[in-house]
Symmetry: C2
Subunit: 319 residues, 2 copies
């Protein structure tokens, strides 16, 4: 196979042909006419063919040039488009995140990430699993335990924070009832996400309050609405210490059994991503940021749990 012609000369040729003259080409390529002239001559020498007919008012393609141009144009077009695709692919970060975590945790913080990486085109897909395969997303901010088949490609996993659960309700709601022991929940509205009653079930399984059944209560389309309902005094939600941190810290929600904290059956919230994309700059940047952001949540969770174990211990000591 013939050695490729000088590629930069080809670029000059293509531009000159497109503009019908060396002046136009020189402006497009930000060089002088002389440079274009030399490039074209070099190419002509290489091919052994005259590509242009030089005339007073510009240049015209020779038959050889006419045959050559469309191929070169098309080839450059292909390369340009492919480069664009590869490049924009590199600048697009597709994040998958389940609705609850998305609305209550990721979304509010994401603007900060966007501003820290204005070159990245962030796309949040709020769902439990992606429509197409795992290839279509760069990273999943999701549950460590799940039943959708993420395992196709080799996956990397990095834990952000644990999902710790305890019942929570509005202070007013609490005032109406005497929630000293978990058995008192039988008299309460349990607030659920439509999808599952798994969180309540896990907590009930862990602390076994007599007479409390996880299937009782009201349902809401997602945990955010359920939490807001709890704030409005509708009932008791199974609060995620991280997702409801704000409400618990500001006191719009209180945890009547704050020493009774259990892990979610969904496991932890993790970053999960294909090994092939794990080290790419965009994913790496996101991982670094997310882990940093989650630091505060991990600390808050630890503090909550420690404080209440302490309280528990003191309480035990006093009684």
């Amino acid at each position: 196979m013939m050695r490729l012609p000088p590629l930069n000369a080809l670029k000059a040729f293509e531009a000159a042909a497109r503009h019908g003259g060396f002046v136009g080409a020189s402006e497009e390529l930000h060089v002088t006419r002389g440079a274009i002239s030399r490039h074209v001559k070099l190419l002509e020498d290489h091919l052994g063919v005259q590509l242009f007919v030089r005339q007073a008012q510009g240049v015209r393609l020779t038959p050889a040039g006419t045959a050559f141009l469309p191929v070169v144009s098309e080839a450059f077009g292909m390369i340009g488009r492919a480069a664009e695709a590869v490049s924009s692919d590199a600048s697009e970060l597709r994040i998958l995140c389940p609705p609850g975590t998305s609305i209550r945790w990721l979304l509010p913080k994401l603007e900060d990430f966007r501003q820290a990486h204005p070159d990245l085109n962030v796309r949040l897909i709020t769902d439990f699993y992606p429509d197409s395969g795992f290839d279509a997303i760069d990273v999943d901010v999701g549950f460590s335990v799940s039943n959708w088949p993420k395992r196709k490609p080799d996956l990397e996993v990095q834990t952000l924070f644990p999902i710790l659960l305890t019942p929570a309700c509005a202070p007013d709601y609490l005032r109406g009832k005497a929630l000293k022991a978990p058995e008192a929940l039988t008299a309460c509205e349990l607030l659920h996400e439509t999808r599952s009653h798994g969180d309540w079930k896990a907590w009930i399984d862990a602390f076994d309050p007599a007479g409390v059944v996880s299937t009782a209560g009201q349902e809401f389309p997602n945990i955010d609405i359920a939490t807001k309902a709890a704030v409005m005094g509708v009932g008791v939600v199974m609060a995620d210490l991280v997702l409801c941190r704000d409400e618990l810290e500001t006191g719009v929600l209180v945890a009547p059994f704050s020493d009774m904290v259990c892990k979610s059956p969904d496991g932890d919230i993790c970053l999960i991503g294909g090994r092939d994309k794990w080290q790419t700059p965009k994913v790496e940047a996101f991982r670094l940021w997310a882990y940093g952001v989650a630091e505060a949540d991990r600390a808050a969770v630890d503090k909550f749990v420690n404080a209440n174990l302490q309280a528990d211990r003191e309480q035990s000591f006093n009684s």
Copy 2:
């Protein structure tokens, strides 16, 4: 549209990917490994994507690289093939020439041209007209008068030499008959090319010898065989002063009516070519050479005609 990536870096990338390592690429491109390394890095920076995973025993393409490579390869392939085509087209000279002129005039001289232009790939197409259009040939060494449609593209024409006709036969054949006057040809075998009896007809029309009909005589597949038959003493051929110059000058053929010379109905032998290719180096080179070679034939024809007009005049004077 995105600006094209640095093309030489692309070349390095493509070679490296093909060889699965920078060493292979560096050998192919005759540069050091460092150079390839820099090129690839430049490209990666430009695209903002890692193209290779560096490993101890070479490199492996990343998903981005895998997507990018085939496009680049294909684009380079296109360019390479097109360059090859344009280039070889420039070095291939396709000459069309009718059989008689081809065998008796062009072909014996063509080796000289080939040696003068060893870079040119000369292709002689021996036929009256080309299979496909005039575009498929670069130049026609043919008749100025013909009925095949050469006129499609704008044509340039350059006369090489006239086609002048006079009967000729072997000296022995002459000895057997008394060919004083053209009417004596009634007793001779007229030798024709199968294709046409046009040359004899033209001569008979011009000099009007009583009783001689152009349709009489024997036929041969081409004028070369007919001429050779004449040399062997089979009959009288209508000799072209140029094509039969050798035979006439060496005396293996003699012209009994050498003062009776007429023009062929086919006109002159000319170079005929499309205007678009007329000035190309290969055609220009051939034209120059052909016109130079034909010089000797023009001179010989002039000499023959003048000498015989002279003889004619002297004969008239003597009688």
